[in-house]
């Protein structure tokens, strides 16, 4: 069982991912609605895995990823991206994201991704 933190500015996406993970053995320990909050909560919650949206206000997912990796080089961050964000995803991958998932995704997709890293 892994502790998960969900980062997304859209409540819809956060709830969707959370609902999807309900059927897995993992536990959502926290959520964040901006990259900035995510970095702060990461220190506090120390989750095993983070799902990170890319486009967010205040601080985007890429910057948040970099900040988190700076604090914890072994951090496991899965980017949640959409079609058309190739350049951003590419940057995330180079900067230490453990992988990414492309919207729209299915329950099996996100669960298997997290299972793999857990």
């Amino acid at each position: 069982m892994a502790k998960i933190m969900i980062v997304d500015d859209a409540a819809f996406m956060r709830i969707t991912i959370k609902n999807m993970l309900k059927k897995s053995s993992h536990e959502v320990v926290g959520e964040a609605e901006t990259g900035k909050v995510a970095v702060e909560r990461y220190k506090l919650l120390n989750p095993d895995i983070v799902t990170m949206d890319i486009t967010m206000p205040e601080m985007d997912g890429i910057t948040a990823l970099k900040e988190i990796i700076k604090m914890d080089p072994s951090a496991k961050v899965i980017m949640v991206s959409a079609m058309g964000q190739e350049a951003m995803v590419r940057e995330a991958v180079i900067n230490g994201a453990k992988g990414f998932i492309v919207k729209p995704f299915k329950e099996e997709g996100i669960i298997s991704a997290i299972d793999k890293l857990a």
């Binding site: 819809f12 601080m59 900067n95």
Partner: protein
Amino acid sequence: MNIDESMLDVYIYETQQLLEALENTLFEGESEKALGSDHINEIFRIMHTIKGASSMMEFEQLAKLAHALEDMFSHIREKGVPDGDWQGIFDVTFSAVSFFNGELAKLQDKSSADGDATDILNMVKAQLERLKKGSPAAVSGESESSAQENMEKLSDGAYMSVLLPGAEEPYYKLKLFFEEGCQMESIRALGVMESIKKACSRIAYIPENLDSDSASAEIVKNGFCVYLQTCENPDVIREIIETTLFLKTYSILPIEGDDEEIPASIRRANNQGDEARRGGNSESGAADNISNEFIAKQNFISVNVNKLDHLLNVVGEIVTAQSMVINNANFGDLDRSGFDAAAQQLHSLINELQDIVMSIRMMPMSTLFQKMRRLVREMAKKLGKNIHLEISGEETEVDKNVIDYLSDPLLHIIRNSVDHGIEDETVRAAAGKPARGKISLEAHTTGSDVIVTISDDGRGLQKEAILKKAQEKGLLTKPVEEMTDKEIFSLIFLPGFSTSSEVTEYSGRGVGMDVVRKNINQIGGSISLDSVEGKGTTHTIRIPLTLTIVDGMRFSVGKTSFIVPTVSVLSAVKPDPKDIITDPEGNEMIMLQGECYSLVRLKDFFNIEEGVTDINEGMCMHISSEDRDFCIFFDYLDGEYQVVVKPLPSYLQQCTSSLSGIGGCAILGDGSINLILDVNGL
């Protein structure tokens, strides 16, 4: 569907919020005839979020449209609007917002979002084409080629490690396939390279250029092939590979160093890696700056209104239960000084709780006013008028239900103002008015009421036309000479006044104003109207802040207690049998202050067994309903109360036909159940 149905509510709510923010930005931009970079970013982000959520909900059309807009604003962000023609962009974006709103409304009504976005999609694409064509070719070409250069640099150098001279490490061939449909395979391959390169001294891969457009397709077809040289045990590589997300299969096999298969590039030493990476970082730095300018706006959580209704009900029950406990405490000879203090504290806490619950249900009027802004914009455009809507007090908060009820009347009044109130520019100029018509919409609170005023500087109401029309319809109740302006204007609220277009030709008003008044009266509000011919018209709507707490008069018939909303009560009298008149059909009337009103005996109306029948023993109340004044007859008046209105239990609501005249119920502090009279149903 993959997603829980209940997510639909969240989706709708959030998307509406985003659209609203978008619209605000657009209005702001439109008034300045351009959008700033932070606004463009915000719109881009909003469209991006809507695209993601819509695709998750499998609303393909919405996702496509959001995607197209995202593309357009992405282009604008990079290249700007070369010809400075923002209007086309605003128009197409506004149309898209309307389309989104329409589809969301359908979803809200539990029907499917089946609208076809093709037209609007084509409009967006046409705008984008126009933007692309308009960009000075040299500039775009240059920036494109420089981007190309950058990419080449990255792909060429970044992943080649330096080979130490003389090292003779074994070579491996790694081949892997990703799961079908996981998308962006080339970047996934890049991720694999990122994670294994630390363990390798030399590395090369096919397809060689992961940034090319065809790379993903190639990987899907042939797999991703990596040639690497490492001194590590292949198990180390295996371990790393196995953490790759969406990996379907992979194989890792040792090969000979002189195998012809190994690309020549792997033997080439390359130092550019670090440099290229640094380049990449500075690029992302620029992106960060942009995104830092995004303004955080989410400080709210959404709650289902049903839950709030339930909460309010429960709090109502607590208030009742508390007063039952405190009033009925039987202590005998025990010392109850401690109890009183505690009871007092409980009482104040519960009051506070009630206030908080009420405040949760309060919503600012801004959403509603925003809708009006859209309406004015659309209508003015269609009618070719130049109209400015001035809004103030949109932060005024009222109960959510009030907003729902207020929406239609406001739409109606504003539609009238735009359509008939404000004149064409030429007419305005001739009358010496500024060319731009003005409608102002304002809200503020006074005590327990909200006042909403809608005024325009249009042509105003024409008294003669109204009087003429009323005379034709036989609606006048007193001589024309005796009527004040206000009385004349209020004629247009009469049900029979007119719904025909004739009046709109004269005065421009009168269309369905009776419906407006009905709606407002329904929630215990009132509307009045003032107008100066040639100068404009002002509507004033007064509505209670909340619908759930009502001031009422309590009275009884037999053992049944009723509450009638105080707003409907004109007076209460002890009737004199002399004033009762019975018409030939047996209907009773009562004379009050020289006027004759029909008398409704509630005992008979509701078939209550007990209760007085003798006029001398009971009481009368003069009631004003939306279409007539009348009197009710009952046993005795109990006093004035403030009650929390609760809906009738659902099993009672099923037989509504027999329940006309009852609008709800309320439990008072003494534990008694009181029926709330719906005066319009009597």
